[in-house]
Every structure is written in C-alpha cells, then in structure tokens.
Amino acid sequence: MSPLDRPPMTCKEARDALSDRLDGELTPGDAAGLDAHLQGCPACARYAREVAFLHRELPAQLQDGKDDGAIWDRVQAALEADQSVAAPISSRRRSLLKVGMAASILLAAGVGGAVLTRRSDIDVAAETINDYLTFRASGKTLHIAAADPAAIETWLEERLDFDLAIRSPHPAALQLTGGRLCSFLGRRLAALHFVGDGAAHADASLYVMRAEGLSLPDQPDRVVGDRPYRATRQQGITSIIWKDSDLLYAAVSPIAEERLLQFAASV
C-alpha cells in the first residue's frame, strides 16, 4: 500500500508516530501520513511542538551535576572492597589498604555516597568510631529518616546481602531515627541512628555487618546475660562490639559505657 492509499492517521496514531520521529524510528511512509495529519490538526501540531521541546530540553534538566570521575572512583573502591572480601586474609589486608587509599582520595575530594575510612588493620572498634565521628562532622543527612524500624529495615535490606532484625522500642531512652548505608571494612554495613531525649540528650549509632573475616577486639569481655561484649574507648567515644550468629554489631556513642552496654543488650 503506498502512503497515498493509507487511511488518514488518527490523533493517537499521529502521537505515536511523533514519538517514533523523536527517536529516529519513523518510517518514510508514516512520515508522510504524520505530516498530513499535523497540517490539519492544530491540537496535534501543538502536541508535536511540546513533546519536541521536552525531548530537546529534558536531557539537560535531568542531570545532577555529578562528575563521571566521582562515580568511577566509587565503583573502583567497591570493586576493590568486593574482591577483598573473597580474598584470603593476607591479600585482603593489602586490598583494604588500597580501598583505604581510594577512600582517602574520595574523602579529600569531598565525594559523597560511599562512606569509607582510612585503615591500617581490621579493627572494628576503630573503624566504627571513625565512621561515627566522620558522619557527625560531615553534617550529612541520614539515607532514610524514619521512626519505624520496618521502614528502615526495608530500605536497608534492599541494599544489603543480609537481613536486619531491628527491635523496637529500645530502652535506655534512645529512639531510632533513621539509618545509613555504609561501606568500609571491605563490606557493606547498616548504620542505625538513635537519639536520646530531654536532658539526657545524646546519640548512638548501631553498626550491623557480616562477621565473616572479622575478629572481636582484644579488650576484656563484659558479660550481660550470657553474651560477651567488648568495650573500647577512643577519642572520647565508646564502641561496644558483640557477635550474634553470622552478624557483628557495634554500638558507638559518647554516652557512658554502662548506659551504652544497657542499650547494646537491648538490641
């Protein structure tokens, strides 16, 4: 059938054909039919002008100014970290040093997203305290702000390779306010954020991570119930670490050790 033999396009057909034209997929036969329709249909002619404007302008509008180099740096750091998890402990330490160097560059360049810290050894207490202080100093927002543990759990579990089980409400006057996704120690971690109320104002971060390849600090045990906890204090911040099945937990806060231990035992 030649173009001249075809029935006139309906508005619906013309608008589909317009979309094809913008994508460079319109056949010559349909082009003739589309042009004929536009000649006689002011509404579609206006529609054509408007969708053409959006097709031209949207690519420039739908940018966030993020530098390709920064994205690439993050991918590189993630690849290094990912390889390090699967590697034996000796090569993992070497790889983590590389991640640390990449992270230092990212942090120096003010790159957001991947939260990575400089490291010299696998030290859960030092790394979590470092991340806690870095986050507080950075003024960055939580990735998800919510009081409902289920909402935070859902958001984080979509991005983690393990399940969280957040208990609520927490005693010790610390209330859950949100969470962050972190990447250090050669793995992805969930960081849950809690704040105190009233005169007892303080905050705490609870880090949850896979325990694989990590060992507990050498500090003496504190035992609550039948579970041992390791308490470490550095830079005015206490880190209480414990293990539960294949997950490692670190509660980090400037609040007193006894209160943080009580908080940790409630999780």
Binding site: L62, W72, V75, Q76, A145, A146, D148, A150, G178
Partner: protein, 196 residues
C-alpha cells in the same frame, strides 16, 4: 600467575566499563529519580558485571550486556519494593530532597522545571520510566530496548509514546508558548482547548 590473571581481567573490565560509566549513571538517575539510589544501582551493576565478566563473550555488544544488568537490577528492585507494603512514616529523605542540592527545604521553596521534571519522571510507572530512561539517556533503539527489557518492539514503542504524553501533561506549564497561528475569527490553539 593467578594474580596476574586477576589483574589482567580487572584491567580489561575497567577498559570496557569506563567509557559507559557516565551514561550508565545518567540512565540510572532517570530510572531511580535520585542520586544516591542511582549510584547504588551503578555500583551494584558493576559488581555484578565483574563477577559475571568471565561469561561475557568478547566480540558481542558490551554496552548492551552492561545495560541489561542495569535494567534487570532496576526491575528486580522495583519488584521487591512492590512486594513490600508501604509503611507510614517511612519517608526517605533523599526522595524528598531536591536532586541537585540535597536540601529538602529547597524542594519546597524552589519549584522549577528541573525539580518538576525529576518528579514527573519519578511518578511514571516503572515500565514506562525504564524504556524512557534507556531511550533518553542510553540512546538505545527500539530493538535494543526490546532486547534489554524482554518486551516486544511494539510494546516499547507504545510505552515511549505513553510516557512522553504523561510527561507533556505534567510539565506543560514549563513549555513556552509557540507562535500562534491567526485564522479568521479564531486564535488557535490555547491551553484549555480539548485535544481531538
């Protein structure tokens, strides 16, 4: 020897991925509607691609292979999200924030074309958003998009057309008026005029 193989594999991967990282991110940004999720999607895509790199056949289309992983990752994420019931009070800060500034207040005070464009795209059903993102940012043909999404070319075509129509309705206030054609006793058309 094994380490040399690993280094070679990684170098080859980097050389192939690096040219696509920008368009990968911009496509992910249009799919997810916000920067942090787009970065996560790109990172997950690259990690998956690297772990499956041995299965990539040299000489085939690497960009299409990479974007298939991205598209599947996005679609899987949407399915997981759809299975999860909405939870009251679970507002995600990033989704409220202006995509460029990260400042939620600006989102309210500074309603502009760019912010509304992000919102309009984010409000599209995921199947329409996926094909529009692959077309607008990825520059893929209908045939490519059909291969990436696993739907027929005709469906890709109608989804793109439908997506454009919805975006046009949402963003009309930002589209400048074109030259009006004056005909006897009539100025055509105006914004209120009903489409045929």
């Amino acid at each position: 020897m094994a380490q040399q193989d690993d280094r070679g594999r990684r170098r080859a991967f980097d050389v192939l991925v690096r040219p696509h990282i920008g368009v990968l991110y911009r496509t992910a940004l249009r799919m997810t509607g916000e920067g942090q999720a787009a970065e996560d999607l790109v990172q997950d895509t690259c990690l998956k691609a690297y772990s499956a790199f041995d299965r990539f056949e040299l000489g085939t289309n690497f960009k299409a292979w990479l974007f298939r992983i991205l598209t599947n990752g996005f679609i899987d994420g949407q399915r997981r999200r759809a299975r999860t019931p909405d939870v009251e009070g679970g507002a995600v800060v990033e989704e409220q924030a202006d995509p460029g500034t990260g400042n939620p207040e600006i989102h309210v005070l500074y309603r502009d074309f760019r912010t509304e464009a992000f919102r309009a795209l984010a409000d599209l059903p995921p199947d329409l958003r996926t094909v529009l993102s692959l077309s607008m940012a990825g520059g893929f043909t209908y045939g490519d998009i059909a291969g990436l999404t696993g739907v027929p070319v005709g469906t890709v075509r109608s989804r793109l057309s439908r997506g454009r129509a919805i975006l046009r309705d949402r963003l009309r206030e930002f589209i400048p008026e074109g030259p009006r054609r004056v005909t006897p006793n009539r100025v055509t058309p105006n914004r209120e005029e009903q489409d045929r």
